[in-house]
């Protein structure tokens, strides 16, 4: 029955790509600078809503890494973020008031943009609160990594979400726009991750960290997934299946080695837990536009998130990628 499974996956991939084309009609261009994209440019794709406070650092972080162009979908921001982004010279911006949920949590929109503008490019799909860390990221730009991946014939690069949190109540320290969020939230769980293999898509299903430990320990099956494959060389068959957790065709999900070796991998430092998170959780719980009708956000809101302290004496303070490599959260693999 393998062929049957493969065939179904193929149909599914076609369906996702079709949806992406249809959902592209939701998008209204605010600033389309895609003609400035050159052939070898590295692109960042992101979908956001009311993230103005994070944007200055987000743009700066990825520009310094060597990203050439940002493709942004703004899902009805009301905090001035849209106006700000429209001014940026390397940002192409679309806006939509359509339902985030109906667009499969933004995946359809981003698939659609990547299909139109990302073909043949390395596309990094991240949220504004996700900061990519990869081996040697302090000395080598992102292009060094993508060149190496190209030379090795690798088309996708895995980077697990690493939830970062402050010491003390989440709401205690205010975050200023342009500030490095890791100054406030430098702590993470170094070794509390559950991994299963997903037989349908061939990817790993990873849970854990502070969210599983504090908010979902009694219902572990509902804890959010942390596996991500944010960096992909987009070709005419590629499609994200569910958020950036898994891709189709399934071969792109094999970002791990099955015979004992380590493949090269990075991490997405997830700076979700800043003081802005408290109000955000309440709002998203009300809107119910997120995965499982915002069940995750309801759990946070019920947990009184602003006063929650995620820190433990066993939490680790972030220093650099080498520390994360030694802890076994990411790997240099064969890249030296």
């Amino acid at each position: 029955m393998r062929w049957w499974h493969s065939y179904r996956m193929r149909l599914r991939r076609k369906r996702y790509r079709l949806r992406a084309i249809v959902r592209r009609r939701d998008l209204q261009a605010v600033a389309d600078r895609t003609r400035a994209i050159r052939r070898s440019d590295i692109l960042v794709l992101t979908c956001l809503r009311n993230e103005a406070v994070r944007l200055p650092w987000f743009l700066r972080y990825y520009r310094e890494m060597g990203v050439n162009h940002f493709l942004v979908v703004d899902n009805g921001s009301t905090d001035g973020g849209r106006e700000m982004l429209a001014e940026e010279p390397d940002v192409s911006l679309w806006t939509t008031g359509a339902s985030y949920r109906a667009a499969r949590y933004g995946v359809d929109w981003l698939n659609g943009l990547a299909m139109r503008h990302g073909l043949g490019h390395w596309c990094l799909t991240v949220d504004p609160d996700e900061l990519l860390v990869y081996p040697f990221c302090d000395t080598r730009p992102l292009r060094a990594l993508t060149d190496w991946l190209d030379a090795s014939g690798i088309k996708s690069f895995g980077a697990m979400l690493l939830d970062m949190y402050p010491k003390g109540p989440i709401g205690a320290q205010p975050y200023r726009p342009g500030q490095d969020p890791l100054e406030i939230a430098p702590w993470f769980d170094p070794g509390n991750y559950s991994i299963y293999r997903n037989p349908r898509y061939g990817n790993l299903w990873i849970q854990g960290g502070p969210r599983a430990r504090v908010f979902f320990a009694d219902e572990p099956w509902r804890a959010p997934a942390l596996n991500k494959i944010p960096l992909v060389r987009w070709d005419r068959t590629t499609a994200y299946a569910s958020s950036t957790h898994m891709l189709l065709p399934r071969g792109l999900n094999l970002v791990f080695d099955e015979w004992g070796g380590e493949k090269t991998s990075g991490l997405l430092l997830h700076t979700k837990f800043l003081h802005v998170f408290g109000t955000r959780a309440e709002e998203e719980a009300r809107r119910g536009e997120h995965y499982r009708a915002g069940a995750e956000y309801r759990a946070y809101a019920e947990g009184g998130v602003a006063s929650t302290d995620l820190w433990t004496p066993w939490s680790e303070r972030y220093i650099n990628w080498r520390q994360l490599e030694i802890l076994g959260l990411m790997s240099k693999g064969n890249w030296a």
Binding site: W148, V255, M330, S331
Partner: protein, 598 residues
């Protein structure tokens, strides 16, 4: 256009005053370029500044426009000329043809050249030209070319070592992989073999060499060359064997090593150097390195302006070797016991499932009143309670979290018990973990313990009866039967042929006969077998306090009389091993008992 540029260059180079180096050796550079022309130009200028004539070969797949622009940019350098262009596809004859054409041009245009160095556009000279020239002058008549017979080297990738020379390879590996593989299979099946021409013994080695004029001229003008060329045209990756083989035929003296530092990964792909390799490259004292990432601005800036210390130094790439060997090791074997987003071995692969040894004690905490404290004192290890207890994870000190921020929530633990244990052992690398286990605990890992070579398991079977005996629950019989069934299943796992742990099992009765000796052997097991001969073993300075078992025999008899058959304890005398109960701590001062005497 190209022709006229080349002609001009050739004339210019012929006319330009040749500046023979002070030390008498002129080094000619043959450079193969196919991309990153700005970097190639920088390096060519470096060689030219150092007084080296350069013959450049540009791959024919490079568009005419790019090629001509490149030629024009270099027209101010009289010593630089271009050779006839060939198509250089990886693994095919084109690269050798290009090299041959360029070498012919070099020897014809530059009669003063004494050595020729073959380099690529992504090679970076690490030391001043003068130092390289001096090095060559000190070793006159020596050819630096890595050259070994196929029988002697394990480098080859893809399983084709000797067969490179005995099969036909008309297809390109990169473009026509399926045809390539099919054709190799057919030849193997039919037993087709090519004859190796007389007069040569196939050798192979690094593509990058430095040959003397004499050797190179002998190779180029060999009357048998058409025969050899015809043969090597269908050899696989001839650029790694053509010169390596023919140099053996003509050389006066071979140093079988390359002056170009070049490292390959496990797939036969060259490692790339970046800015952060600067100190490593500098200390290596190699003359040339490849491959350099074209955007490694720091490396180009640092090395192309290098003035050198003038001291004669022998190239020493061992440090770089180690770095890259480690990278290959990490990619192929990984860190044992690590399970993470990019290392998730299939069942049975990747070595033991945990990162280091740990100990599982079953029944000890039930039998001894101060077991955990005592064990921690006696061994210095980290001693937990029942990690798999149904109510909570009993971390040492009963804290809410432990190493790696593992919580004490039993549901989260049981959600993925395998990863829970792997995480625990990984997070505490370098410190031995001991924990209690028993039939009251979650049995998800019963088999995993048994199969894990890192586990050391000491079992007092039937000891779970002690808490029942001291505080009998209302459904005593059912509870005892349940626990006995669970432990019996667990013991079956420990006794199965799949068990790889260090396992010791006593029945309660056996253990009570001589607790001190049994304890000593359980502790001895904590020292790895390999180190056991030399390492100091933990010795029993005192014994833990045994629970009061007065009446246990009668209690068991009572269970039997009620119809439940408790057998895992062994045969306890109907009236209890009273002596055993009180004895160990009081009557067994350490060092006096025969088995403790040194």
């Amino acid at each position: 256009m190209t022709g006229s540029v080349q002609g001009r260059l050739r004339r210019a180079s012929a006319a330009a005053g040749r500046t023979p180096a002070a030390d008498g050796t002129v080094l000619g550079i043959v450079m193969l370029v196919h991309t990153a022309f700005d970097r190639a130009e920088q390096v060519i200028r470096f060689w030219a500044r150092g007084g080296c004539p350069v013959v450049v070969h540009v791959d024919r797949v490079v568009p005419r426009r790019a090629h001509d622009a490149f030629v024009l940019r270099l027209r101010d350098l009289p010593g630089v000329s271009f050779s006839r262009r060939h198509r250089c596809e990886w693994g095919t004859w084109g690269i050798v043809a290009a090299t041959l054409a360029s070498c012919e041009a070099m020897l014809a245009r530059h009669p003063e050249v004494g050595h020729v160095l073959l380099a690529s556009g992504s090679c970076l000279p690490l030391r001043p030209v003068a130092e390289l020239r001096a090095y060559l002058a000190e070793r006159p008549g020596t050819d630096f070319i890595e050259s070994a017979t196929t029988a002697d080297v394990p480098w080859t990738v893809g399983g084709l070592s000797e067969e490179r020379f005995t099969l036909h390879f008309p297809f390109a590996w990169r473009r026509q992989r399926r045809l390539f593989d099919r054709w190799v299979a057919i030849q193997r099946r039919l037993g087709l073999r090519r004859a190796i021409p007389d007069g040569i013994v196939p050798h192979m080695g690094s593509q990058w060499w430095c040959l003397t004029r004499a050797t190179l001229a002998a190779i180029l003008t060999d009357p048998d060359r058409p025969r050899f060329d015809r043969y090597f045209r269908r050899v696989w990756i001839p650029d790694e064997s053509y010169f390596q083989t023919l140099a053996r035929r003509h050389t006066a003296r071979i140093e079988s090593r390359s002056l170009t530092l070049s490292k390959f990964d496990w797939q036969g792909k060259p490692h790339v150097f970046y800015d952060d390799h600067l100190p490593l490259l500098r200390r290596s004292d190699c003359f040339v390195a490849r491959k350099i990432w074209p955007h490694a601005e720091g490396l180009y800036q640092a090395f192309l302006s290098e003035t050198g210390h003038g001291l004669p130094r022998e190239p020493n790439p061992s440090k770089i070797d180690r770095v890259f060997a480690k990278a290959v090791e990490r990619r192929t074997r990984g860190r044992p016991g690590l399970w993470m987003q990019s290392r998730f071995p299939r069942e049975g692969w990747g070595g033991p499932p945990t990162a280091g040894p740990y100990s599982v004690f079953e029944g000890f905490a039930e039998l001894f009143e101060d077991w955990e404290e005592w064990l921690a004192r006696a061994t210095g290890a980290r001693v937990h309670g029942h990690l798999f207890a149904p109510g909570r994870v009993e971390w040492e000190g009963r804290g809410p979290t432990f190493a790696g921020a593992l919580p004490d929530n039993p549901r989260w633990r049981d959600h993925n018990a395998q990863m829970f244990l792997r995480n625990l052992v990984w997070n505490t690398r370098g410190e031995r973990q001991c924990f209690q286990f028993g039939p009251r605990d979650s049995q998800l890992l019963s088999w995993d313990f048994a199969k894990d070579p890192n586990a050391q398991i000491a079992v007092i079977s039937g000891a779970w009866i002690v808490p029942l005996f001291r505080d009998p629950p209302p459904d005593l019989r059912a509870e005892a039967a349940r626990l006995q069934r669970i432990e019996s299943d667990h013991l079956a796992a420990l006794r199965s042929p799949h068990a790889k742990a260090r396992i010791r099992i006593w029945t309660l009765a056996e253990f009570l006969e001589n607790p001190a000796e049994a304890l000593q052997s359980a502790l001895d097991d904590m020292v790895p077998a390999r180190a056991a001969a030399t390492a100091p073993r933990p010795r029993l300075a005192s014994l833990p306090r045994l629970a009061d078992l007065t009446g246990l025999g009668a209690f068991l008899q009572g269970l039997k009389n009620a119809g439940m058959h408790p057998y895992l304890m062994g045969d306890l005398p109907p009236d209890p091993p009273q002596a055993g109960g009180a004895a160990p701590s009081a009557a067994a001062p350490p060092g006096r008992r025969p088995y403790l005497v040194r």
